[in-house]
């Protein structure tokens, strides 16, 4: 096993001159009403959202600057009326991954995604049962629509992963969720950590789990043969900042969707997105300069220190260790949010 580099000595990947991949948060609108929504989405569009023309111009900028992959999420991307038009503008120009609740994915839409060469669709399921999922998303019927959408995608030949944000209200269904993902024909099932962003902060007491509870649940999962279950807890706690970039629905370059309340690297309507890549803070986030790190996570991920967003949320420092790593937690109670997350509301305008 490779030894972890000394604290302060970066062995992260060398800094890229410009990003290769990007997360595109195309909208802050959604047909659902998730109790944990990181973006505090609404059904009505915010006038600050980029227009169709602005998104297309931005996509052209990405292609011109050799961005090779777009991971597109929202809100709910398919709730944006021009979304398929935007996808068409990206089609065959970069690798496309779309994250969705799949409530809008009819057989026709699935066929269209196949024709547009979407490489992968990540389907959010907030439980393995309709009552659990629908309670999380505040919408009766969403689960059945999502399952139907997932099946339509697989039938059309579009690969899918499933994603489940792990909460106190669905953790007992984790095994059932993995089995469900396998039965749907997903290539992988993922469990995601709950981030203290947006509405989730207001219901943290109700939704959050202790680190011990999370680890016990993850370690108890039996993965069907030939299937893959992935997560970002120990020993897979990666610091993805070295390769991440993200633009918010309002045109803000924010590094990563989970940094949305802490970081503002520039407005892409006013400054070239690739120029924001060299923002001093972003260079720090990509540097891997952390006070401490986990050797096992370093060995599996090739990165140092784990998630910067949760490190900053719980410690208030960019060089702090990620408390979601069982080795680096240092006694941090993940069920208690620091007060600063509430009175600094947010660090930046989202």
């Amino acid at each position: 096993m490779e030894a972890v580099p000394q604290p302060g000595v970066s062995r992260m990947h060398p800094q890229l001159r410009s990003p290769i991949k990007l997360t595109l948060c195309v909208t802050n609108t959604c047909n659902l009403n998730c109790i944990h929504c990181y973006s505090d989405c609404t059904r009505e569009p915010d006038p600050r959202e980029l227009t169709t023309l602005e998104w297309k111009k931005f996509i052209d900028h990405l292609v011109e600057n050799n961005v090779m992959q777009a991971f597109i999420e929202g809100g709910e991307p398919f709730f944006r009326p021009d979304f398929l038009d935007l996808l068409e503008h990206c089609s065959r120009r970069m690798n496309l991954i779309v994250r969705t609740f799949a409530n809008h994915i009819t057989a026709e839409v699935a066929a269209r995604l196949k024709a547009l060469k979407v490489g992968l669709v990540c389907v959010d399921l907030l439980g393995a049962r309709s009552e659990t999922h629908d309670a999380h998303v505040g919408t009766v019927g969403s689960f059945e629509l999502g399952i139907s959408g997932a099946r339509n995608l697989v039938a059309a030949g579009v690969p899918i992963y499933t994603l489940m944000i792990l909460t106190r209200r669905n953790v007992s269904e984790l095994q059932e969720y993995v089995n469900l993902a396998y039965s749907l024909g997903a290539t992988k099932a993922a469990a995601l950590r709950l981030y203290p962003l947006g509405r989730s902060k207001m219901r943290w007491d109700e939704l959050s789990l202790s680190l011990q509870e999370m680890m016990e649940a993850l370690q108890s999962v039996e993965v069907p043969k030939g299937f893959r279950f992935i997560h970002s807890w120990h020993p897979n706690d990666g610091n993805s900042c070295y390769q991440m970039s993200c633009v918010s629905p309002f045109g803000k370059s924010i590094g990563c969707p989970y940094l949305r309340e802490y970081v503002d690297l520039g407005d892409v309507r006013e400054v070239a997105f690739v120029d924001t890549w060299n923002d001093p803070l972003w260079r720090v986030l990509r540097s891997g300069n952390v006070a401490d790190s986990c050797s096992r996570c370093y060995a599996t991920q090739g990165s140092i220190g784990g998630c910067r967003a949760t490190a900053f949320a719980f410690h208030g420092r960019w060089d702090a260790p990620d408390p979601y790593c069982a080795e680096m937690n240092g006694g941090v109670d993940l069920q208690r949010l620091p007060e600063q997350l509430f009175w600094k509301k947010p660090w930046v305008e989202v």
Binding site: I20, K117, V118, G119
Partner: protein
């Protein structure tokens, strides 16, 4: 998978290539499959050598570039493996046979 010395290979013209020399790799997007691949230095080398050359010529050039660092046989194996993987991801395609190639 085995190849004959006269089998010729060329890069998929639809593939979009971004050199990431900062990471000693190339990132290649293939729009039809679709797929995004990161080619390490040796895979990248094989990819670049697939410019219509025959398998025999690719092997020879690959071995020459490594000099005495690896044996000719090992170079041949590595080149063949690289071509196999690149074919699987549709980053290269067969483009016929070299006329007069000796088996």
């Amino acid at each position: 998978m085995t190849f004959e010395l006269g089998d010729r290979f060329a890069r998929n013209p639809a593939a979009v290539v971004r050199e990431a020399d900062e990471w000693d790799c190339a990132v290649v997007f293939e729009p039809d499959r679709p797929s995004l691949c990161m080619l390490n230095a040796t895979a990248w080398l094989v990819f670049e050598l697939c410019d219509g050359r025959s398998f025999g010529a690719i092997q020879a050039e690959y071995a020459a570039l490594f000099g005495n660092k690896i044996s000719k046989e090992e170079a041949g194996l590595q080149a063949a493996l690289g071509i196999q993987h690149l074919l699987a991801f549709q980053l290269i395609q067969p483009v016929g046979k070299e006329i007069g190639a000796r088996p």
